[in-house]
Amino acid sequence: MKIVVCVKQVPGTTEARIDPETKRIVREGIAVATNPFDTYAVEEAVKIKEKVGGEVIALSMGPPRAEAVLREAISVGADRGVLLSDRAFGGSDTWATSYALAMAIRKLGNVDLVICGKQAIDGDTAQVGPGIAAQLGWVQATCVMEVSEVEAGAVDGANGGSAGGDGSAGRMVVRRMHEDGHDVCELPLPAVLTVVKDINQPRIPTLRGRLSAGKREIPVWGAADIGADTALVGLSGSPTRVVKTSPPPAREGARLVLDGTARESARALLHELRLRSLA
């Protein structure tokens, strides 16, 4: 099975700010990290590969230094990484980004499954995963919390990927969460999933994995390499217009009311503290 996992480099959670002129997130000169939701996507991709065989390719779009998130994915089990980096991509909104990623997935060829984190913690749109599915014309399941069955296509060689175009005879069964519970969905492959934190516990890179990943070649593809129409990427390909931004209201502290006797309340308080690793 040939799996593409999309990863994004995002600002450190405490350092994100908006440029008041461009209304875009300032990304220069600040600490960065892999989008936390994407670590769950990588873990799930690697787990599926370990179960049914195949290949995991980490894919990212961003400036040259975004290759760090690809190396991180490789250090925990992705087989290789590809970085989309080109000035033409600058200013892309979620639709233009989805287009570029979809073009790269087409170029990779014979991909059975694309997995993304539910959303990136900088833009918080949750649109790129579904956007990729729309651009590719594939089925999708969002907010997946469990992959219970995976059947690769009939032809699934050591080099990964299934027979014929982007198609595959494979299928999978997933459980996706929503506000009122969860749905169990069967999807034909190829498909796009976005995953939530409940799906797994991402493994932590080993030193060996990290050192090995540091030596890997990361190919960088520009717009021309993936055959992208430059009118459909960057600012020109982005229909989104941010007309106003404002900081969210400050969060109020959480309040927990514990009922019962003093002993019961103390026990409940201790339980809550332990769950937060505070006791």
Binding site: A33, P36, T206, L275
Partner: protein, 268 residues
Amino acid sequence: MRTHIENRIYHVELVPPRQESEKLDADLELFATKFARVMESGYCACITDNAMGKLSFQGTEMIEELALVPGPDQVMIHLNTFHTKSDLDGILAACIRLGIRQLLVISGDGSDRLPRLAPADIGVSGVEAVTSVELLGYIAREFPGVFELGVAFNPYEPEEHEFGKLERKLAAGASFVITQPVIGRHPVVDALLSRYPELPVVVEAWMSKKIELLSEAVGYEIKLEAPYDPIGNLKTLHRNHPRCGVYLSILSFKTQYDLLGETWVTGT
């Protein structure tokens, strides 16, 4: 541990590089250099486990991947509850491969990225979360006689509460204690030594001049009237606690390490 104390072997804390390091090669080289110095000195290297919840490389993988050579009984591994069961198994197996016997078993500090052992993982029921007590019990039960297990003791916590915890830790298999950093003397450490005269106790010496960091580490504000002198405090600890070992945290290898050679000898 008793042999370490009798032979005046310092326990030198070594912190592995963080996972997020952007200068990993340099950090690895520095760690290897420090490790080699501790081995050459005949001291014991005590390697932390994701200290303060910061994602770092494991001590055992540092030793194996960097081909470091631990001397006999010269390495102690910190081991906390923030691991998957398979990672825990891997760390314990690596310790056995490397001949590492001493483990400092602590509850540890978690973070979003760190998993936590579930009670069922280590065959425990009737508790909500795994603490150092359950982890100690598991290791003592599954690896009888293989490891020498130590635990932390915080004299800044309410005394009877801390002694109650210590009792549970000792019952679970702990055989030595390392205190939180002590400045000069602490009455609860004196009480510890009085209550457990046979128990090997190692007092921690805070080797940074930044005393405010110590307050953060122990969870209670520590105020001093005069600027803190780490080497002076180390000598005082030897003088006040002659039957204790000493654990050196935040030690400067550039400015302090070479002063250690004669410190314990004279204690003055």
